[in-house]
């Protein structure tokens, strides 16, 4: 198979403009007879469904939650990047483009990333127009803050609830189209199969999760906006329901899977506290604007953090990376935390945590500014701290509250304890410049695709990419395909392809229900997660990956012999839903290990212990791996590897340095 990325000709800064002015259009009358299926209603799905409906297409949108407003984009905390340069600090489209490519450790496509940087500014305008209440300065202008891997302030935010506000904006646009009759919304529905006719995606089989009924839905095109697959690790910051099922069915139906092992481990999460733990909670990267990360200089130092004097603390990020300090990219911050804990300097009962401490900046940054604003002369440290706490509350109040709620410790008084956790997957369905997978008519948007973040995503870029894909990219690129489909009449769902696809699904469900073994679905998921975290997590090596593959295969085999799913098929049965998702994770996990095993280099979040510099940094091999791994599914969990070479014409590849 020859992979065609369809990157337009011309210089990188004119490609998208050129593309937009030359792509085929669909006239308004024809749009009304074209039907688009959108699966998933997070930032990418809701924005795509709303925008396509505004343009005149007929849209059916699906989500497994009880309302489209609950998609996991809602939980994004810190912010969204845009090259507005409102701070006059030297930002530009080129810089955002450059930072993203470098942040991704030179494993993303230049043309895609440049386009993302270009449309970033439109996103902010659109969201403000919808009434998204971003944080503002006293003069009424929008406020910005910094995120990791950048030296400018380009992140727009709404307290620690930016994802919520952006998603509610996109959701309101979506509901407006529902009200106007242009979108039909199917909540509590899960996509369980892609229907292909003559090689093209022509619809889906969806399962109504309340009645258990299988439904056939026709579409001239199918858009998968179904998010990432971090839950393959069981414990992650993803929502409980986040899953790979839609993307995996697409993969098995012929869509290649790109860079599956590229996983983002986020450095600042609340550490695991017990075996019953069901998920991990993120503490936003924005906290690293004002929080300093440290561990004691002494091993097994059991003093309370506030009792450890300044000169006995190791601010290891500031020490190792003076240029970026606490704001190094996520992969680097995570590995550095792991390094300290593995070396025996970790804190807390499990010793698998580091401190994130706000005291210094509460006193020196915010306290002093407030004191001088209020005309307080020679304030004491206590006064400064109290003043600083007020500002910290304004900036991060909800995060501090959440931390206190979960851990029963007050971060205004003692440093937070944090540890890295699985957060995002850069890998996903392989798509070309038009966001089309290798199955014609089947598209992947947002986290579900592999495209823009390379081997490591920078903070505040996921929201940007989801909305870029949905609001500003797919509305153009879909026209390129649909303009050739205007003669395709709606295909009856009695067509044999629909009948066969539905039968395949119902056989699969009956097989699962028929096992009636002894073990719960949850127990398999937990075991898979442990294999993945131990052997395909923050650090990987050849031996561990090979073991993991064997263990996953054995676990999968056991699953199909011993899993117990209660209840019946034709009722609301969350255990059955979960079983289907875990079954897919059990296949994906193996592919991730193969991907990691074949990529004999370290880059971004993919750290192979065999390939590191003397200082313990990721050691890339650009000669052999300056490419995308795109895996084609063959029968019975066998895959064929294809490669897409990456060309860097605008950015000079170098060893990534944040020192």
């Amino acid at each position: 198979m020859k992979l065609d990325s369809k990157i337009p000709q011309g210089s990188v800064d004119t490609k998208w403009t050129q593309y937009k002015s030359s792509v085929s259009l669909v006239n308004p009358a024809n749009k009304r007879s074209l039907h688009v299926i959108v699966v998933g209603t997070g930032l990418a799905g809701a924005s795509a469904a709303a925008t396509l409906a505004e343009m005149g297409y007929k849209v059916s949108a699906f989500c497994f939650q009880d309302s489209p407003r609950r998609a996991h984009s809602i939980a994004a905390q810190g912010g969204i990047n845009a090259a507005k340069n409102y701070q006059n600090d030297g930002d530009s489209v080129y810089r955002l483009f450059y930072d993203t490519i470098k942040g991704g450790d030179y494993r993303a496509r230049e043309a895609n990333v440049h386009r993302l940087a270009e449309v970033s500014t439109n996103i902010i305008d659109q969201c403000v127009a919808q009434g998204v209440p971003f944080a503002r300065e006293y003069g009424g202008t929008l406020s910005n803050r910094s995120f990791g891997g950048t030296q400018v302030q380009r992140t727009f935010y709404a307290a620690g609830q930016t994802g919520q506000q952006l998603l509610l904006g996109a959701y309101s646009a979506l509901e407006r189209q529902v009200g106007l009759g242009n979108v039909t919304m199917y909540s509590r529905h899960e996509m369980v199969e892609v229907v292909k006719i003559d090689g093209k995606a022509r619809g889906i089989i969806a399962r109504d999760l309340v009645s258990g009924k299988l439904e056939r839905h026709f579409g001239h095109a199918v858009l998968l906006c179904t998010g990432g697959y971090g839950n393959v690790f069981y414990l992650s910051t993803n929502a409980m329901g986040s899953n790979v099922t839609a993307a995996w069915k697409a993969h098995r139906a012929g869509a290649l899977f790109g860079n599956p092992c590229f996983t983002q481990i986020h450095p600042t999460c609340i550490p695991v506290s017990g075996h019953y733990q069901s998920k991990l909670t993120l503490m936003s990267e924005s906290l690293r604007n004002d929080g300093r990360i440290w561990v004691p200089k002494k091993k097994d130092d059991n003093r309370q953090p506030n009792d450890i004097p300044e000169d006995e603390r190791d601010y290891y990020l500031e020490r190792r990376y003076p240029a970026f300090g606490n704001l190094v990219p996520r992969d680097i911050a995570s590995r550095a935390a792991k390094e300290r804990c593995d070396a025996g300097y970790g804190v807390g009962t499990t010793k698998m945590a580091v401190y994130l401490d706000f005291k210094y900046n509460m006193i020196n940054k915010y306290g002093r500014t407030e004191a001088s604003k209020r005309g307080i002369q020679n304030p004491s440290e206590d006064v400064l701290l109290e003043l600083g706490k007020e500002i910290a509350k304004e900036k991060y109040g909800n995060l501090f509250d959440m931390y206190k709620q979960i851990t029963a410790e007050d971060p205004y008084e003692v440093p937070m304890k944090i540890y890295p956790a699985v957060h995002y997957t850069m890998g996903g369905l392989w798509v070309d410049y038009e966001l089309q997978t290798t199955v014609p008519g089947l598209y992947a948007l947002g986290e579900a695709n592999f495209s823009d973040h390379g081997a490591n995503r920078l903070g505040a870029s996921a929201l940007m990419q989801g909305l870029a894909d949905g609001y500003f990219i797919i509305p153009y690129t879909l026209g390129s395909y649909l303009s050739k489909e205007i003669h395709t009449k709606p295909i009856s769902t009695d067509h044999e392809a629909f009948v066969e696809a539905e039968k395949k699904v119902s056989d699969r469900i009956n097989q699962l229900m028929g096992i009636q073994g002894k073990r719960t679905v949850e127990s398999y998921h937990r075991e898979l997660g442990k294999i993945m975290w131990d052997k395909c997590g923050m650090a990987r090596n050849e031996k561990g990956l090979k073991e993991a593959i064997d263990e996953i295969r054995a676990l999968r085999e056991d699953f199909y012999k011993n899993v117990r799913i209660p209840g019946s098929v034709d009722e609301f049965n969350p255990e059955l839903d979960k079983a289907g998702r875990v079954a897919d994770f059990l296949e994906l996990g193996e592919l991730m290990c193969w991907d990691a095993l074949n990529r004999n280099e370290s880059c971004g979040g993919h750290f192979r212990e065999e390939y590191q510099t003397e200082e313990g940094e990721a050691l890339r091999d650009d000669e052999n791996f300056k490419n995308v791994f795109a895996w084609e599914y063959k029968e019975n969990n066998q895959w064929e590897l294809h490669k897409e070479e990456l060309n860097y014409e605008n950015i000079k590849i170098q060893q990534r340095s944040y020192k």
Binding site: Q65, D66, S67, P68, R69, R70, H72, I74, A75, K84, D125, Q126, A129, Q130, G131, P133, F134, R136, Y138, G140, T141, L142, A158, Q161, G163, Q164, Q165, Y171, S172, A173, E175, R176, V178, V210, A239, M240, G241, S273, G274, Y276, S278, K279, T281, D401, M402, Q405, I406, A408, Y471, F472, P475, T520, S523, R564, P566, G567, E571, F572, P574, E575
Partner: protein, 247 residues
């Protein structure tokens, strides 16, 4: 810790429900939902039907979790959702009663899961700014005073969980509707549709079968995002203004 549970079990929307009792071993650092996970694993292993309940993000923002715990939506603590409630808020040997949201407009799907589609339909009736993608002007061309932006944001933090409806003896949705109306009526972007919006949303709210507001304030007291009661006053004000203008 040993916990006794009385949980509402109901097979589906049309069947009769009843309380059933369970015993579960919990740890103080467990979240309330993790305690339910442990119980469900036990039930499945023993060949029984696990308890259906809604949940997703488990960090208090998606609005999916929805349990009435000892008579209070989201339990005894102020400003938290069920998923953020931890067992350390309870004591050894406690008996805890768990029910679904109770409101005609939120029919039970199974056990503790209810259908909150009515909220989506209220938003679809007018809870938006009609601006198609591509129509926006530069974001800083409209200045919004910080205080206004902050107050709009406070109203916009509603997670649409429905605790307000569940807490209200009339199952009124005024806090939910008031929050969205307040957010959009404060911002310059919301002005063109300000009056039509409030009338449409109130009409839809009534059509869905939510009750009237009698100002007891239970909604605001139980709201996990602490949306203030003042959004209801604002909703009334906006509604009367629109009506006086013949909308």
């Amino acid at each position: 810790m040993n916990i006794n549970l009385k949980v509402w079990r109901q097979r589906n929307q049309n069947s009769e429900g009843r309380f059933e009792e369970y015993k579960v071993q919990a740890s103080p650092d467990m979240s309330f939902l993790e305690m339910f996970d442990v119980l469900n694993e036990q039930l499945i292993e023993d060949g029984n039907d696990p308890i259906a309940f809604d949940h997703d993000c488990r960090e208090g923002i998606c609005g999916m979790c929805s349990m009435v715990i000892n008579g209070r939506p989201h339990g005894p603590k102020q400003g938290v959702t069920t998923c953020q409630l931890h067992m350390r808020s309870f004591s050894e040997g406690d008996t805890i009663v768990v029910e679904p949201w109770r409101a005609n407009a939120f029919p039970v799907i199974k056990d503790l899961s209810v259908n909150r589609g009515a909220f989506d339909r209220i938003i679809a009736s007018g809870g938006y700014v009609s601006v198609n993608t591509g129509n926006a002007v530069d974001a800083n061309s409209i200045l919004i005073p910080k205080e206004v932006a902050d107050e709009a944001f406070e109203a916009a933090t509603c997670i649409g969980c429905g605790a307000c409806v569940s807490a209200c003896k009339n199952a009124s949705a005024m806090l939910f509707v008031g929050a969205k109306v307040t957010q959009l009526s404060m911002l310059p972007q919301g002005q063109p549709e300000r009056q039509a919006r409030v009338v449409a949303m109130v009409n839809q709210m009534d059509a869905e079968g939510f009750g009237a507001c009698t100002n007891t304030g239970a909604c605001a007291a139980e709201c996990p995002k602490q949306i203030p009661l003042s959004v209801i006053a604002n909703l009334n004000r906006e509604y009367y203004k629109a009506k006086l203008n013949g909308k």
